[in-house]
Amino acid sequence: MAYDPGEFYLTDPRPLLTQGDVYLAPAVLAWSSASRSAIPLVPPAPGEPGRTVFVPAWRHEASSAAPGVTLAASWTPVLVISHDCEIDKEFNEYVDALIREGVPADEAEERAGAMSELDPYILVSPLLPYDEQELAPDRWEVVRTGRKIGYFPLPGMPSYEDDEFFIHLSRICTIERRLLVPAYKAASLTEFGRGLLRFKLAEALSSRNLSLVSKLEQAIGHRITDVRTLKVKRQDATVALVLDDGSEIQVAVRVDREVDVPERTRKSGA
């Protein structure tokens, strides 16, 4: 499966900080100093994107209970991983609270917008090149085609010389929101790209169940929009899968005797 970059990137970046945006920004990774050593010296800021500097997090003595830590700090293109709702959650809660107190909506938004302590944490992940130092070459194609769990492919960016990158979903880090500067936003994913990103995140970080649902949806040719338990009796249950066209499929399930399933009966709408 090949991606058409036209399906993946908007012509112009979005105006708001959004999941799926690409910024030039810092990214950080903590190493054990036993794996990566660093000299106790503050290096100069990177002169160009893609540089990584290594610095000790603290002075470590043999008697320290805390381990020796080396921080690898990069200035690099990063992909915004945080969900849109998460990006401005505290801001919206604060605005809603002000409005409930009688503050006009415009003023409430202006006051909350000036509070930099709201929603300071943004998850990002560095864009990595298809380079044998980052990923074994025999894995490039399966990553590029979106089939490798734990990775998200970024096809060539038309505005950036069509260079391809990928995201390693174990390299996600947290940076302060103010480090994502609008003038350094390079690109934004389309809704197609963002949908794929959310799926890959769920697949890698939360639930293998997701892939089972996908398999089921493929088998029946529709999206499942809801699931209802219709009938449970001893070892048997009937479950209704509500599909995106409004129809339902009823599935008979044999329930494990050890599982405590609530007794509920409901008339089918089919």
């Binding site: 105006p15 708001l16 900080l17 959004t18 030039l24 660093a38 000299i39 106790p40 010296l41 503050v42 290096p43 100069p44 990177p46 160009e48 994107p49 893609g50 540089r51 990584t52 500097v53 290594f54 610095v55 990069s74 690099t76 293109p77 849109d84 709702c85 990006i87 401005d88 959650k89 801001f91 919206n92 809660e93 605005v95 809603d96 938004e109 909350a112 917008g113 930099s116 090149p129 380079d131 960016m157 505005s159 950036y160 010389e161 260079d163 990158f165 929101r177 103010r178 500067v181 609008p182 003038a183 350094y184 390079a186 939360s206 639930s207 293998r208 169940n209 089972l212």
Partner: protein
């Protein structure tokens, strides 16, 4: 070698730094004194300095995979216009709390598959 702790004059310090730098350069090294107020003088080889600062990649002539972004910076397509923060996304009534019970959440989140092998912790 005189190792007594005596106070050096500024001129003596300057001369000693010249001597140290000359020796470092002679052996292919670099001298950085760190920040004002720090009590360490660190001398590293050029190779080590490149490792620390990430300069090694360009020095070997290897293509910088992020070159397109570097060129965008140079042209002003990226980075121009300063650092004004983006305005916030207003979503009235955004749900901040889940309506599910912890038991329901855990039941949905329980893994169906378990890894076949797990690494022993180091």
């Amino acid at each position: 070698m005189d190792v007594t702790n005596r106070v050096l004059t500024i001129e003596e310090v300057k001369q000693k730094m010249k001597d140290i730098r000359a020796v470092a350069v002679h052996y292919g090294g670099v001298v950085h004194c760190g920040e004002r107020g720090r009590d360490e003088l660190v001398i590293v080889s050029s190779r080590r300095w490149e490792e620390v600062t990430g300069a090694a990649r360009s020095e070997t002539g290897a293509r910088n995979p992020y070159g397109a972004f570097a060129r965008a910076l140079e042209s002003g397509r990226l980075g121009a216009g300063g650092g004004a923060a983006e305005r916030r996304r207003r979503i009235p009534g955004l749900a901040a709390e889940s309506q599910m019970t912890v038991e329901e959440m855990a039941a949905l989140g329980m893994e169906e598959e378990r890894p076949r092998r797990r690494r022993q912790e180091l």
